[in-house]
């Protein structure tokens, strides 16, 4: 079994997670991430993923809620938890994607 991930695989994961990592960290994660992946692969062997997988720890069925409007949050209270805002809008760094 392969001992570590390639540098490009590590970079790919970092890109997906939107984190910047140094060259030293890349080498470190080549080994550490591989160990995690090896554990995850064991799960794949255990269970056929397609049929009736267990998705919750209980056997409960989904209970539906009536379509009624309830209490909403006052924007002023919500904005107390936000580092930056402009009027009632939450401000974040510019990200242009989808």
């Amino acid at each position: 079994m392969q001992e570590k991930l390639s540098i490009s695989e590590v970079k790919h994961v970092a890109e997906l997670a939107k984190i910047r990592i140094s060259d030293n960290e890349q080498e470190k994660y080549q080994i550490e991430l591989k160990k995690i992946f090896n554990e995850l692969e064991k799960i794949e062997e255990v269970k056929d993923y397609d049929e009736e997988i267990i998705i919750t720890p209980t056997e409960e069925k989904c209970q539906l809620r009536k379509d009624e409007i309830g209490q909403m949050v006052n924007p002023k209270d919500m904005l107390k938890n936000v580092p930056r805002h402009s009027g009632n809008y939450i401000e974040v760094p510019v990200v242009i994607n989808e």
Partner: protein, 476 residues
Amino acid sequence: MSNYIPTIGIEVHVELKTRSKIFSNSKNGYGMGANTLTNVIDLGYPGTLPTVNEEVINIAIKAATVLHCKIRKMMNFDRKNYFYPDNSKNYQITQNRTPIGYDGYIEIDIDGKKKKIEIEEMHIEEDTCKSAHRKDVTLLDFNRAGVPLIEIVTKPCISSGEEAKLYLEKLRETLLYADISDCKIEEGSMRCDANVSIRKEEKDPFGTKAEIKNIGSISNVKLSIEKEIIRQQKLYDNHETFKPQTRRFDSKLNDTVLMRVKETGNDYRYFPEPDIPYLYLTDEQIFQARKTIPMTPDERRELYDKRNMSEVNREKIIAHRELSDFLNKLVETNLDFQIASNLLLGDISSYLNKKNKTLKETKLTQEKFTDLVEKVIDRTLTSKNIKDLLTDILEKDQSISELIKEKNISNITDDSILKEIIHKVLENNEESIKDYLSGHDRALKYLMGQVMKETKGSADPLLASNLLKEELESKK
């Protein structure tokens, strides 16, 4: 340029018409102050749990039904994981493995033939928050976060921009009529993406795909697909290749523009949403949801054809839901649907447009309307009379007969009286008779005008015109 075969698939998101959101009881609304329609679930606070809105499931059942989809009775939700500020949970709750509807279709008419546009699947998911990009900051409004959506995905079976346009028009009409969504593209309650690729021959594998996202109107979907096909043709003709990519349609440039190249496939790491147990639909629930589906546009087309309505009127009536619903309430009567639709689309529609009113806001009842149609058929009322009476018909409580009496309308329907007037008109217009006899049709119109003038508009136009022609022909 060489010939290529285009292959197109369309993905459409529509927001569902519910009172509250899909997983929380915040209001589902549009056009309100930023972040005023949210609660801890929409904002993704830790420790909160989603609960599924019953109405979303009912509407999805209706949508699956009108799109001729099979309905899955056991389903779950999945998490689609990605890092982007439009979703504070860092995942969107959707249905990846078990879409509620699958294997459906919508039928379109293209070049006089019917074609089924196959629907691969339709699933339920939550909308994300709305982000507005400014120069150096992005602003977030979570009012849209958690608004219920269905995404409808076709198979790659569409072969032109025109077909895509017809599909989207039919889809929109179908969803509107079933009260699924208000499908306002300009407000974002209907959003269209198109996947476009081309290949040389049917036996070849599909070409590299470009996805055109968030196109602002149905006509631009057609245009952007046509432009994209040409762009890909030019590349292949020059022996160039391109990577799978996402593009957008720039309506100023009138062309598609590159947004980003997809270096890898999707890395959304879907897994089942553990906070929502399996959902089981019962036959009773499906039956009850289907019971509320109003007559579909295609069923209306069939009905109007049976009632001998012209194709032009049929399509205009269907495009105006309120008129169609009004007419359908009279389906049990033997009302003449052609004359009825003429009245609704003509004078009545002009009044409604002018006054910016709906039919409901007028005094026109089904009974009064039936009476009006009958009075047109038995020639008690001429088109001129209707024009004169219409405002009163629509604004007053009085019956048609009462209004006729009040306005003192009495039309000349007696042949002998009309003939006398025609003789008088002809005596005074010998030149016009000559013109008519030498083949000038305009002379007939002029003479007819004189007859109407002489009778102060009270002659039955059809009868008067027939008698006038008879008189003129006898002079040949």
